[in-house]
């Protein structure tokens, strides 16, 4: 406990906790929607797109890669969620193609043009997060707070519409809800969360932040509201536990958070079993 208090005196530890909590909260809010819309894997696909965009930004020597990565990922999210339903390449296949394609192109560009002397380190950091959450600048923390606030605000403002589009898109359209517009909004929010979460867990582990809290909550709760609230509480708790455990035990931050999420999922599955019957 004494050690933990000493660690909390470092500003970068406090930044990591603030950003970690915000990202976990945002990802869990949208996670429920994505799981219910059968878009669980979109986080993985978009994170690979963000990795590819980051590689391009690195090759172009952009000092602030966020200005390039964020619009690029938002555009990809819109394309995936909108055109996926109107083209011959449907949902999961489109995500898989974009996912592996962006990953391959990103690594190829880094290998060919990167000026860094530690290519494997750079790739490892981007894919697994490493300690990037603990090396944030105050500018990155501010940007994260602003974007997270925007995501949370949008979610609460359009909660009813997102709920309607999530459960029955056709019915929502039939009663006058602009389903296309709300799908677009969801796509933009997802992309923002993905780009933010890359700092926390790296691009390979982002899906865990989106899926595990939602799935854990669905084991025990049934209504959209209770699942969303439980998912948010669980995600924030696991994120805090993961960050603190990784600092104390010198383990990689991203994978420690994901292990905490897995543990929570197992506990909630057990609770569901005791309560009687497991919901899928």
């Amino acid at each position: 406990m004494e050690m933990l208090t000493a660690y909390l005196a470092f500003p970068f530890v406090r930044y990591a906790l603030i950003v970690g909590v915000l990202i976990a909260l945002c990802s869990s809010l949208l996670g429920v929607t994505l799981v219910l819309k059968r878009f669980s894997f979109i986080g993985d696909g978009l994170s690979h797109v963000a990795f590819g965009a980051m590689a391009i930004a690195g090759v172009l020597n952009l000092t602030d890669d966020m200005l390039f990565v964020l619009p690029f990922t938002v555009l990809s999210a819109i394309l995936l969620l909108r055109t996926g339903r109107h083209t011959r390449i449907k949902g999961d296949a489109a995500i898989a193609m974009i996912s592996v394609g962006a990953l391959a192109i990103g690594y190829l560009l880094l290998s060919l043009f990167s000026a860094s002397t530690n290519l494997s380190g750079d790739v490892c950091t981007t894919l697994f997060g490493s300690t990037s959450i603990l090396t944030l600048t105050i500018g990155e923390v501010r940007l994260c707070i602003i974007l997270s606030a925007a995501v949370i605000l949008l979610f609460f403002l359009f909660y009813n519409k997102i709920f309607a589009v999530t459960f029955d898109e056709e019915f929502a359209s039939a009663v006058g809800t602009r389903a296309e517009a709300y799908n677009l909004l969801i796509a933009v929010i997802i992309a923002v969360i993905i780009v933010l979460a890359m700092n926390l867990v790296g691009s390979l582990l982002i899906s865990a932040l989106i899926i595990f809290p939602a799935m854990s909550a669905m084991r025990v709760f049934q209504s959209f509201r209770s699942v969303t609230i439980c998912s948010a509480v669980l995600s924030v708790s696991c994120s805090l536990i993961g960050i603190l455990a990784s600092i104390l035990a010198s383990t990689p931050v991203g994978s420690t958070i994901v292990v905490a999420d897995i543990a929570a999922f197992l506990i909630f599955s057990l609770i569901a079993r005791f309560k009687g019957g497991v919901r899928s």
Binding site: F12, V13, G121, C124, S130, T251
Partner: protein
Amino acid sequence: MKRFFLFLLLIVSVSALMPCHAEGAPAVSDDVKIDLDLSGMSGTIVYSQIYNIMYEPDKYIGKTIRLNGYYDAYEDSETGNVYFACIVPDAAACCAQGIEFVREDEALYPEDYPEPGTDILVTGRLEPYTENGFDYLHLVDAVLVWDSERD
């Protein structure tokens, strides 16, 4: 004899619990004020703090820093200069941060230095320097301590 053996065993056990002790290097004086003591902290914290020092060096220049990591040296084949560093890897072991140091004593290389990869404890004052038009940071008047048991 049995008591003596037990006494020796006790001393060996206690000394094994000591974090480091010096060999051929002066001990760090107790009156040296350490501004930033990273020794004994988790690798994740030390790695992140060194990153922050490199990112915002102005906040730390002139401060006495103590850290542990592993020792490494680089010899410039053109100039013959040897650079010594305390390296701290990150938790994923894919990246490492290091701080160069210059010892306060007239140590000879390589005789008075440990083997590369040895765990070391370095205490020194952070100062900037310029070489070939590039700015660098290093710990000057550094006191180097390592565990002789591992040599």
